[in-house]
């Protein structure tokens, strides 16, 4: 859905590093190198980034704005 605030396994705060990760990976950088540079060492935290899908952006597409409600 949206990046979890903490790693499910160890509890490290990871959400603050998501933007940076997303930006670098979109540029074509190797995810493994980005995670290393962000200081994400353990594999429990690394899978939080690698396996996250921003589904919230998909559900936002279906949001109907109140003023448009009459038309649709």
């Amino acid at each position: 859905m949206i990046i979890p605030v903490r790693c499910f396994t160890c509890g490290k705060v990871i959400a603050d590093k998501w933007d940076e990760f997303k930006k670098e990976v979109a540029k074509g950088e190797n995810p493994s190198k980005v995670l290393d540079s962000l200081g994400i060492k353990r594999y429990c935290c690394r899978r939080m980034f690698l396996s996250n899908v921003e589904l919230i952006e998909e559900s936002l597409k279906f949001y109907v704005r109140p003023k448009e409600e009459g038309k649709t």
Binding site: G11, K12, V13, D16, I56, L60, P66
Partner: protein, 268 residues
């Protein structure tokens, strides 16, 4: 007890305590994880939420945000308000956002502190919203202990490890380099026709080098008189504050034990 700091940076502290019993170091570790009071959001009153996330999800995300401050608060269990929550044991944070554009991210830094407690990290996304969506809420932060909920745990990783002993028999060693290859932490190196250890404390005692060495020239053991404590804070308390707070809790426990023994009829 002789303490040497191996590293102290970026929310991670590593220190070696020579001649400290591992059971004692483990007691400190367990107090750090379960009994150092830090603030976390406990109650959320949502006035308006038109975002795509349910109220429950937002409340859960808010709870996990590490908070700083709150030294003047008392634990709600020990407060005279009968666990209801009052200004003495709670601090309020508010959030009021209306997204101006699509795919707008609300960060923890937008929360306004009305009391002594504020977010330790300003870059945690709380929700993503489209233009016109609104989120208005009031969050009440309380002090709590890690044993009651993980949100009150001031550390993520916290470990005690014995001192590794790596013995290399230079007479048996034929410098094949198999141990250097095998070590997952890459702490062995060849230097001047001998295998040397570069960073002893990174050894995880996995003994893979022992198995890889055909002439059995390398031997791994440990010394449990010396131990290392690795603490990784979430941001609520700094490394030093956290270890010192744990020591205070330990002292307080000993003090309580002492006074209850002294109050026995057959006093010592």
């Amino acid at each position: 007890m002789d303490v040497k700091v191996l590293s102290n940076s970026d929310g991670q502290l590593k220190f070696v305590a020579k001649d400290a019993d591992p059971t004692f170091m483990n007691a400190i570790r367990r107090i750090i994880m379960a009994e150092v009071a830090i603030p976390a959001i406990e109650k959320v009153y949502i006035a308006e939420n038109t975002s795509v996330l349910y109220d429950d999800i937002i409340a859960h995300r808010l709870g996990l945000i590490p908070l700083k401050g709150g030294e003047i608060l008392t634990l709600t269990e020990k407060c005279d308000c009968d666990k209801k929550g009052c200004p003495k044991c709670e601090s309020i944070l508010t959030l009021e956002v209306e997204a101006a554009e699509d795919n707008f991210l609300v960060y923890s830094g937008r929360m306004k502190a009305e009391g002594s407690v504020f977010p330790a990290n300003n870059n945690i996304p709380i929700a993503e919203m489209n233009a016109g969506q609104k989120l208005t809420l009031e969050a009440h932060a309380r002090l709590g202990l890690g044993k009651n909920h993980a949100k009150w745990q001031p550390v993520s990783a916290c470990a005690v490890k014995y001192e590794p002993i790596i013995e290399i028999d230079s007479k048996k060693c034929d410098l094949c380099g198999a141990c250097i290859e095998e070590c997952p932490k890459k702490i062995l190196k060849e230097k001047d026709n001998a295998i040397v250890v570069t960073s002893l404390w990174d050894c995880t005692l996995c003994k893979l080098c022992e198995e890889a060495c055909p002439p059995a020239a390398i031997k791994i053991s440990y010394d449990d008189r010396n131990s290392v404590l690795i603490v990784e804070t979430t941001g609520s308390l700094t490394n030093d504050e956290l270890v010192l707070a744990a020591c205070d809790v330990m002292l307080q426990k000993c003090e309580e034990l002492k006074s209850s023994i002294k109050s026995l009829p057959e006093a010592f």
